[in-house]
């Protein structure tokens, strides 16, 4: 059996984290919750649910939390790493849809997409305005053409997780992971997923922040 890890970055998610861990546990045994400086009870709740919990003493952002999880999982000889959100917007029973392509060796990185086949109740403005702009920006800045550039549901094999070192601490890591996957010429596959919008997720202002982070990072590296 290959070593499978699920990384769940969590920031003040005490309301959702229990259900998410229980759902994921049905599919993956090794769950790493990265508590990103939560001020609520996320840390203890996750520990009680039997997850491996890493704690950032201050909030550093989702990208930073994912990288912490990646590094820990790799040190534990992870073969496949799944990134999953803590707010319950993804369905754990769809994890298998992603990792089967890695197991078969058909992909190094599998991305969950909200825009293939399956129906997600994406808010109107987001579907027809924000995400198309995100796609266009990704295409212009990074030269990437995918249906869903900002999805946080993905699976990586060891090689990809090792090579892709997330530099963007904030939300720009989604685009960064894509651009590095293309840069290293990994085999990429997109798989339809369902997304349940409990809240709006990234707002337009968040999108602008992502763009700013992407540009600054381009200057820095």
């Amino acid at each position: 059996m290959d070593q499978l890890f699920c990384i769940i970055p969590a920031y003040n998610e005490e309301d959702c984290i229990v259900d998410v861990i229980r759902e994921v546990k049905k599919v993956i045994n090794n769950i790493i919750v990265v508590d990103d400086g939560s001020t609520d009870n996320t840390y203890n709740i996750s520990l009680n649910e039997g997850a491996i919990v890493l704690r950032h003493i201050i909030n550093r952002g989702q990208g930073a939390a994912l990288r912490t999880g990646n590094e820990y999982a790799l040190s534990k000889k992870a073969e496949i790493i799944v990134h999953f959100d803590a707010d319950g917007q993804f369905k754990a029973d769809e994890i298998d849809d992603l990792i089967k392509y890695i197991r078969k060796g058909e992909a190094d990185i599998v991305l969950g997409s909200r825009f293939l086949e399956k129906k997600s109740n994406i808010p109107f403005l987001k579907k027809y305005f924000i995400l198309p702009i995100a796609r266009l920006i990704n295409f212009i800045i990074l030269g990437i053409k995918l249906t869903d550039p900002q999805s946080g549901f993905r699976a990586l094999n060891r090689k990809a997780a090792f090579k892709i070192k997330i530099e963007n601490d904030g939300m720009a890591h989604c685009s960064e992971i894509l651009s590095k996957s293309f840069y290293y010429k990994f085999k990429i596959k997109e798989v339809p997923i369902t997304v349940i919008y409990n809240n709006y997720g990234q707002k337009f202002s968040g999108g602008l922040r992502i763009l700013k982070d992407m540009l600054i990072n381009k200057l820095l590296n």
Partner: protein, 111 residues
């Protein structure tokens, strides 16, 4: 003319303050040198403002010398802000690195 005299008096005041700060070891040597040159250059620019006027009009600027100096200082300010941003960004990354190491070490210590 009066403006120039006032500006020079102001600069002399800052220079005195600077030497006082240096004497009391409130600033480092390199900082002292930087501000010393800064005020001396500012003083020279004010004293020879007519020469600067001629120089900038010779270079094809439509504004007067003092205006060009202001353009120039804004340009330098922008550059310094940009440098500062990059520096902050690097510091942020280092903080993340420290936080990450603490998180992983804490976990490994418990194992």
């Amino acid at each position: 003319m009066i403006q120039q005299v006032l500006a020079v008096i102001l600069i002399i005041f800052f220079l005195l303050r600077l030497s006082w700060q240096k004497k009391n070891n409130q600033i480092s040597f390199s900082e002292f040198i930087f501000w010393l040159f800064f005020w001396i250059i500012a003083c020279l620019a004010i004293v020879f403002i007519k020469k600067i006027d001629n120089l900038v009009s010779g270079l094809g600027f439509s504004g007067s010398g003092i205006e060009v100096l202001i353009y120039f200082s804004i340009f330098i300010l922008f550059y310094l802000i940009f440098r500062l941003r990059l520096k902050i960004e690097k510091m942020e990354k280092n903080i993340t690195k420290i936080v990450r190491n603490l998180a992983i070490n804490e976990k490994e210590d418990k194992e």
